[in-house]
Symmetry: C2
Subunit: 337 residues, 2 copies
């Protein structure tokens, strides 16, 4: 057990998170979510400890996207069952406002049916009420770091159509798009280049029969032989969360993409770049394009951000202070991430 | 004819735009699009002249949104034919990357078939290559002001699903969503609150029969008896751009919403607020939330912006200068809108 928070020990909390202790994980995520100044300092201390002891390519961060109603949550629940059978620990960050996970107890109930209520190997966190819909909130990236430290697999569930912000395809190792049978919009979005080509595409509800098969074939045609990550040919799979078919194969394919990234030594580099983009985005939100220009411009800044070895929040704070100027004691220079 | 641009006369250009002269309209839109400093000053002068002579509630600004493939462009073309028969002048700003208008000659060809090639009453401008997809580019608002000065109706065509930026529903008087028969995604997006409720909803391709009727009924159910603008009950219409059915009724409904806005004296106020939001957004992009805080915070700033009587670019420039500080001669304080 961790000690009570009265005497906060960031190193101890980081160690407990890495051991996958649920109370520690909950405490850490709450801390990252707490915007009071004292908590922000504690969060910075904690994240420094966590990042120091964590290899840059641990775990597998998977994004599940797709329109509401396609069954992302059911499919995630079915995948979790498979992963648990394989002995993997799973974290879920749900950021889809229409998701039964974020929306309430629905997936929680479904999960409880399938996995034991005291299964320490599954941890679910909803971010439903953060910020505006769709665009991933600023907390998602640091929270995913915490979940990666505690789990083998982390799933981020979101809508993911037409987002311009840090979207899921710019923060996950593997993006999986869940399509709804009979819905032409996904095909059209793909064709129009509005939907970024995912790493894995799956048509859910294959138990619907002909309409699911037609969507499968339309998506295959729309994609052609699309490649991402150099030579990864995007597979189009078929599954049914409710019937439980195709889920093992989907889990295998997701793992295969993760392995391909790791084998080609791309994973560590990709995460560094995503981290740099998160920092850039935070600074842009607070200081605009003028602020980014003052820090040397976007390409230069991204290069600097990817090279530095400070922890996430320290790096953010150092750059904030450069923009806020030398007036170290004024009211604007409090930690604000 | 306007005089050649060598001796630029902003008042003359504004007058020629208001008379609906095509070369003047083209010149004005090019000017707003030109990021060189000399052009920016000319654009500011021109827009001041234009705004000074233009009532705040002239014309009708209509947004056509919907997924790619739903037939927004064909429906727009069919509407234009109806409007031209009614003697109305029409401007089109196309910002959908998948649109045949932005994409090239397709709608241009279709339009040429239906309207005379030397019909001065239709003016089309594509913004396909501005900025990132979907999110309306910064130029759309000033360009729509220019088009409103020259036309009775201005159509902005965009994808409009899941955009967080100044989206079309925050700049048009009337938003019309074009749905694709058989596509459940639109229904799901509406239900999930991801798609903002439009003022008018139309299912295109009613010639597809049963599948179009089912979508019509699903959308009706998803909307319930949704209201916008206080007591405007959102109508769900059916049309076919190719068969030419339902287009007159759609034109009537759009006009009815415009009339309701004008009758309730909301139009002028709404445009002032949209203008203020455009300014806020521009300042946010350049100076971030920190800059907005320095100008007094968003609610206060929006109030100020809606009250002032400077022209659009002058107001923008005055606020930029306040944020850039007193160093009036330095390299950062050039006009930059």
């Amino acid at each position: 057990m961790t000690s009570p928070a009265s005497s906060f020990d960031p190193a101890q909390l980081a160690a407990a998170v890495r051991r996958g202790e649920r109370p520690a994980l909950a405490q850490a995520l709450n801390l990252l979510d707490d915007r009071r100044e004292g908590s922000r300092r504690q969060a910075a201390d904690f994240l420094r400890q966590l990042e120091a002891g964590q290899p840059g390519d641990s775990g597998h961060l998977i994004g599940m996207t797709g329109p509401p109603g396609a069954g992302k949550s059911s499919l995630t629940a079915a995948l979790i069952t498979v992963w648990r059978q394989r002995g993997l620990r799973v974290g879920v960050l749900a950021v889809d406002p229409s998701s039964p996970i974020s929306g309430g107890a629905l997936l929680g109930d479904r999960l409880r049916m399938k996995t034991s209520a005291d299964d320490d190997g599954v941890f679910i966190r909803s971010l439903a009420c953060r910020g505006e819909f769709g665009g991933l909130s600023a907390e998602v990236w640091p929270m995913s770091l915490v979940m990666l430290a505690a789990s083998d697999l982390v799933i981020i569930e979101t809508v993911g159509v037409g987002q311009r912000e840090i979207d899921i395809s710019r923060m996950c190792d593997t993006t999986c798009f869940v399509a709804q049978p009979g819905s032409g919009d996904s095909v059209q979005f793909l064709k129009a280049g509005i939907l970024e080509v995912p790493h894995v595409l799956v048509v859910n509800k294959e138990d619907m029969g002909a309409v699911a098969r037609r969507t499968l074939s339309e998506l295959g045609t729309a994609l052609g032989r699309a490649h991402t990550d150099g030579n990864w040919e995007v597979p189009v799979l078929s599954a049914s969360a409710t019937a439980g078919t195709g889920v093992e194969a989907l889990a295998d394919t997701l793992a295969l993409h993760g392995k391909a990234l790791r084998d080609s030594k791309c994973l560590h580099e990709r995460r560094r770049q995503y981290r740099a983009q998160w920092l850039l985005k935070r600074l842009q939100e607070e200081f605009g394009s003028h602020g980014i220009k003052r820090l040397g411009g976007e390409p230069d800044l991204l290069r600097q951000l990817a090279e530095q070895n400070l922890s996430l929040f320290e790096q953010h704070e150092a750059l904030r202070q450069r923009l806020l100027g030398a007036a170290a004691g004024d009211s604007n220079s409090t930690i604000n991430f």
